[in-house]
Symmetry: D2
């Protein structure tokens, strides 16, 4: 049983839009930053992957004044070439701003096709899976 991985992301002024809050699209960039940090820690390198499917519920606005958010990543399932993660954006006040389930696919940048995780990678990802 693995702990939930946490990563802090600074809110940038450029993340806001004319409704004076962080544009909803940027929530996916926050998730991406958390996921990349997770991958880097668990796999020990910057992984190459693509996002195949994403579901997200936006619960709450994030504003520039929030300064930073915390992204939580929990592995739900590790497949041959793909991984499913539960991903959450949390405000400094501890409130959930967004909850997502994301399917990513390990990617071969040269052939531009999915590629299986190695046994070592799968083992490391499995260890990080929440029970």
């Amino acid at each position: 049983m693995g702990a939930i991985f946490e990563h802090s992301v600074d809110v940038r002024w450029r993340d806001t839009d004319a409704l004076a809050h962080v544009n909803h699209v940027v929530f996916l960039t926050y998730l991406e930053e958390g996921r990349d940090a997770f991958y880097a820690q668990v796999l020990g390198s910057d992984p190459i992957y693509v996002v195949a499917r994403l579901e997200i519920d936006m619960r709450r606005e994030v504003r520039y004044e929030d300064k930073r958010v915390t992204v939580r990543i929990a592995v739900e399932r590790v497949g041959t070439t793909s991984m499913t993660t539960r991903e959450t954006v949390v405000t400094p006040a501890g409130e959930t701003a967004a909850e997502a389930r994301v399917v990513t696919v390990r990617w071969d940048a040269d052939s531009r096709k999915p590629v299986p995780f190695s046994d070592a990678e799968r083992a490391r990802l499995a260890t990080s899976m929440t029970a």
Copy 2:
């Protein structure tokens, strides 16, 4: 029964990332541009809304060389304060790059709370609903 609304979005160089394709996050910006154009046409003004929920399947890479994509918007359901749309990103070759279902909520920018569609808005949106 309404026709499916279509809107063309130019691919920008800034939309790409180091995998030499359009970053998946930008697909949501393409959808947003299509949805805003849909709203503007059907409601006759730039609407103020927030995205409450979004599901997206990424089917295919979009590359800078594609130059533009077509976004298709079809209304699935109109509620009191929310609307559900089916949204598709299509490449110039006619291939589906992404398919999404999006729940948006009419928004009052001053109170920062959901606000009901007016009867006139609901009528216009209902007319545009695909059978």
Copy 3:
């Protein structure tokens, strides 16, 4: 003597920030889109280059309601590996939103170093130069 090249860029909602106008950084993306279209027309292909120096005066806000801007590109100087252009962002009302001078350098993506324009490229760029 060449005519001034013009290219239209759609304003996206994501281009705005919490001051309810297009973020100044995005003006450079508008210039980039105009410049890429210029390069594509004059050189007949998507060129690979980097921006080495840029000066920009921001004269006026662009807002989402403006819907689109026109980018004008005029070649000022063509060097061995570099080119200097005068670039302007114009609103639909015909007002100058930004004026820039930009030095770009032809780039070899593999060696990550500057590379000279070919004679054919230089000839085509020189023809497009404003007198």
Copy 4:
């Protein structure tokens, strides 16, 4: 004589483009983050300003692998409504990636016009000026 202000900015995957480096436009976002942090520290609040003029020399690529950059801000001149700063982006290896001079204008968000610094603001900014 003030010390040079430093602020660290994390490089995001979304900052890269298809040349596998941080897009030049994003350098301005890095500067903006540094400048906003400077303003917040010196003035004690998030200031409202617009960028009126910017000159930037791009000296070196920043890549995702760099993970973060340091932005240095030094005040060059404080005027009635405007401020000129020297701004630098430095890589983790200590190399200068970009050098800029930026003129910002204190802004009234309601009237959408320049507004003078208060005497207290000018005094605090002057103290931070490098000799």
